[in-house]
Symmetry: C2
Subunit: 614 residues, 2 copies
């Protein structure tokens, strides 16, 4: 039954040799790798507006400059990442760059940041996708978190457990449909702006307070929030090996394309938002307001909302292509549990996928699907990993020292400087708004990574089996096995257990713990009458009505008498009840005994399963 | 460490022969058995006032008649229970009477009612005691539930786990101190009333609406609520064997004393409450308001509050003398889990005590210590068990047919009729106010009792060991033991497990499940190099990366080949990690294997414990 459901949901197991090694053409790679970056126009500009609209509308006039600063930053990051792609044709993100060039601590910092980012990508993208849907269909609002969880757990998790190839065409469609929609939106908007009688930017939207320290801080915070538009820019450089040859060249071209489209969309959307002087509203995304302003609630409006939703869900999906492989690399390096490195039945890293879904679902539930709170946590980790990757690249170029390495190092150094500054800006301006969580999370994760590594190292030491050389090869004397079988009263279970006892030992002690003399006599009489194999019954009288301790004391006495190579097997005559609640009707002595005896070496506790039929 | 704390809290274990058989003089028995009944004046009259004050004050004028009706009912119940004591000198409450005279269903109904009552006694008495404390010291209000739980779990539970003798003088004091306080209150109140210039009952308090159906229903509901004053009247008849000789006579006298005191206190307090026209207030008990009216907030007021608190906590304690022995009788009869019938280290029924504390704590937490909601659940069960006991007595007298049995039967029959009517009144008037919970709970409990009995009967059938007679005594052929040992790679744990395998079998299969050919070769090479005992390694290739299923299939193949009397032992080489979280870093294959293999007969799964040292 369980198996059938499993097969229906995730499909038949796949053979090792069914692993896919398909290469992607540029047009497909663009769609697949850039859904994360492009989709962030669904929330990025809104984050700027939200920060600037807060202290009275006059700060809103700085929307334009902030948006332009972000696009400039995008240009710098893009150029830097094209370099990363050039230097790492084997793929691998900040962690790989850092462990190769910078050492353990920066690498683990990058890994922790990426861990946080990928989880947040899933949570933010899924809840933003749902927000786009709800903007179009407000009646769905009460089901917001439920929709998030259905998309996350029923669709994304299962698709990724199945391990559907990321190269399938179905994943390319939403990105292009989305781009087409946003381009149409911008074109129509511009047409309306420039053909209409409105002033280019109305005075209300352009009005600005004079720049004070307070306003500057606010602009920096708006900038920090807006930087969330830039998440996902690194995706292509992580996936270089998936491009058709010449991989590096194609990856670079695709990166430029992606950033150009993203920059164009960011600028266009920001311009139009300022023009229409749109302000954030409860339960409607700003992109939805913009589309409504330009098209009204017609078919095109719904087209834009639906494609925005799809591309955001697709962006969440990219994290599933990112985190589980990263976790498997970390597992291979010993920083994460080993089982995160194993491929499941469908060749996907199923444990990593489940972990990611679990964490993202927790975030969505805790923050009740409220995107803006999640985004506060978001940008800092992204830029931290940007900075580490760029710094790693500087070291890399210094080591390579090929023609023009100075230039390349300078570009990445500049990138590191800028993104590092952005990290500081975000950490300072958003500290109270959730950045502190990330600043606690990252060191915590690093210490967990190290503890795990340490444990595995200890394990390897302890489990190491010295290989015998010819001289030292000697066989230890064979031990005997002594069986202790607690008997409450002779039943059919005791009889069955006794059969097994005789199969594994010649020295069997049936031990009865008697809490009063009358029952002791009764059990003894019954035993003597029945006992077909003439096994001796040891009766221990326990006037304090304690069963476990006298038994353990008896076992300890046997332990002292036996030779060191001998074993003691405690055989507990127990039964499996037919219904789970039947178990509650029986005492848990077996369980207690097992828990206490597990502390002893050379004492094995075992049970012959006996199944009650009714 | 744990042991030391345990010893400090509950004391050294007691020997079987330390069981106490002390007899009580009347004055002590009165104090100990009647704390439950007497303490109910702490909430009973308040319950009447609360119901009558609700629909406008004019219904309040019926306070007097309702109180008088309750005292009359008390008289009837008292006389009936003196008969119960006469007929059952061996003690035992409604359940014992019913199982002897009426059969299983009424007995189980009584048991279920008593179960509910004792649990509610603890919850209601503890929270009423705390309410008395809070009335005196309102600043403790925010800690209400915490105080309840401390009294319940830290004091009552531990005292009863220690099994302090209920006969110790310390338990007699609060009752007499309480009686003295209430008598002083009533005397002073009457002095003030009759010496003062006030009219005997002021017009406001005596004003009544004309009796309509609605008001009658309300009065019946007030009566139903007030019946909670009568809980605990049956306590003496359950404890006849604890009286000094002549037991029955002494028990009867004590019952009359108890009911007289209770009746006097109920009438006196009700009269004074009506005289002062006291109305229920939030967070102050009505008894506290009365004491404040009469004495002001002086020493005597605090004396009354503190003794009320103590006697209420003591009343909770009486349930610990009632329910655990009842549960042990039910366990002996097979209606409750057997372990509820065992005496713990201190000779108390410790499992029953823990169960009672757990249930009462749950009630207190769920109802947030709010007494009035708990009392709604209370009276119905009490009167149901009264009715069953009285009915049982009618049957009893009919069977005995001694001199004057007609009279005795008539008294109990009348008692049964009246208490049965009260059950109906409560069930109807309080149905919406929580009585429905009890009406669901009782049938549910009855079905649980029967399910448990049924299970034990099934068990006995299945576990029965046929005793060999001389002719049929034949020894089954001795089985062999075949060991299957899953090996991931040769480590020191595998080496240790192999030693045990050789102690219990001559036929050992080390099985390696290989997910790819390279690792298969590696493990095989290592095995061949190491293997000191020349145990054969079976390699099973699993290209679908599934470990458990191929292993189980291998075991199933062995099962088909072996003789029926042979056993298969699956030895899982596992280790105990030093820290609990280390366990999360390792896969749970052993656990999964154990869970799946437990379904097979004649396959024993076992582990040689190996302890990691770091």
């Amino acid at each position: 039954m369980m198996r059938l459901i499993r097969r229906l949901l995730i499909g038949r197991p796949l053979h090792n040799r069914e692993m896919s090694h398909e290469r992607l053409p540029k047009w497909k790679a663009l769609a697949i790798f850039s859904s994360d970056a492009l989709s962030s126009v669904g929330y990025g500009p809104e984050m700027i507006a939200m920060t600037l609209a807060v202290p009275g509308l006059l700060a809103y006039g700085y929307f334009g400059p902030v948006a332009i600063a972000i696009v400039l930053l995008l240009a710098i990051v893009t150029i830097s990442y094209v370099q990363v792609a050039r230097a790492n044709p084997g793929g691998g993100g900040s962690y790989s760059v850092a462990i190769k060039n910078l050492g353990e601590l920066p690498a683990l910092t990058a890994a922790a940041s990426l861990f946080a980012d990928y989880t947040l990508t899933v949570a933010v993208s899924v809840s933003s996708g749902t927000a786009a849907l709800i903007s179009a269909f407000p009646s769905l609002l009460p089901h917001e978190v439920a929709i998030d969880l259905i998309v996350l757990l029923m669709i994304l998790t299962i698709i990724n457990m199945r391990g559907v190839r990321e190269s399938s065409n179905i994943f390319a469609a939403p990105t292009y449909l989305f781009i087409a929609g946003i381009f149409a939106l911008i074109a129509t908007g511009f047409w309306q702006v420039f053909s209409g009688s409105d002033p280019l930017i109305p005075a209300a939207a352009a009005a600005r307070q004079p720049l004070s320290w307070g306003i500057l801080f606010l602009c920096l915070r708006a900038f920090a929030s807006g930087c969330s538009s830039m998440t996902g820019v690194e995706a292509i450089s992580n996936g270089v090996p998936m491009f058709k040859e010449p991989e590096v060249h194609n990856a670079a071209t695709t990166t430029y394309w992606m950033s150009s489209i993203l920059g164009f969309m960011l600028l266009g959307i920001s311009f139009l938002m300022i023009h229409y002087h749109l302000l954030p509203e409860e339960n409607t995304t700003l992109l939805s307001s913009l589309a409504e302003n330009i098209f009204g609630r017609n078919v095109i409006y719904y087209y834009i909302q639906i494609t925005t939703m799809l591309v955001l869900y697709l962006a969440a999906n990219t994290a599933y292509n990112g985190l589980p492989p990263l976790l498997s690399i970390l597992a291979r390096d010993g920083y994460m549990p080993r089982y995160l490195g194993f491929r499941g039945e469908r060749l996907s890293f199923s444990n990593g996928i489940l972990l990611l879904s679990l964490f993202a679902a927790t975030l969505i539930v805790v923050f009740a699907g409220s995107v803006e709170h999640l985004i506060s946590l978001y940008a800092i980790g992204v830029f931290l990993s940007f900075t580490i990757a760029q710094t790693g690249m500087v070291i890399h170029w210094r080591q390579v020292q090929d023609a023009g390495w100075h230039w390349r190092a300078a570009i990445n150094g500049f990138g590191a400087l800028i993104t590092g500054t952005v990290v500081l800006v975000i950490a300072i301006t958003k500290f109270m708004f959730g950045a502190w969580i990330v600043l606690i999370f990252i060191p915590l994760m690093i210490s967990i990574f190290r503890k795990i590594k340490h444990h595995y190292a200890d394990m390897a030491d302890q489990l190491h089996l010295p290989m015998p050389d010819g001289a030292s090869l000697q066989i230890a004397p064979r031990g005997k096995n002594i069986v202790v079988m607690p008997v409450a009263s002779p039943t059919i279970i005791v009889a069955e257990t006794l059969k097994y006892a005789q199969a594994i030992s010649d020295q069997i002690y049936a031990v009865h713990i008697a809490t009063d003399e009358e029952s002791a006599r009764k059990v003894r009489d019954k035993w003597l009458k029945w006992n077909p194999e003439k096994v001796e019954l040891v009766t221990i009288y326990s006037p304090y009505r304690i069963v476990v301790q006298p038994l353990i004391r008896y076992i300890e006495k046997l332990e002292m008498k036996k030779r060191p190579e001998d074993f003691i097997t405690v055989l507990i005559p127990e039964f499996e009840t037919l219904r789970w609640w039947h178990r509650l009707l029986h005492n848990q002595t077996g369980w207690i005994l097992r828990t206490l005896l597990i502390l002893k070496e050379n004492v094995v506790v075992s049970t012959v399963p006996y199944h009650l039929k009714k």
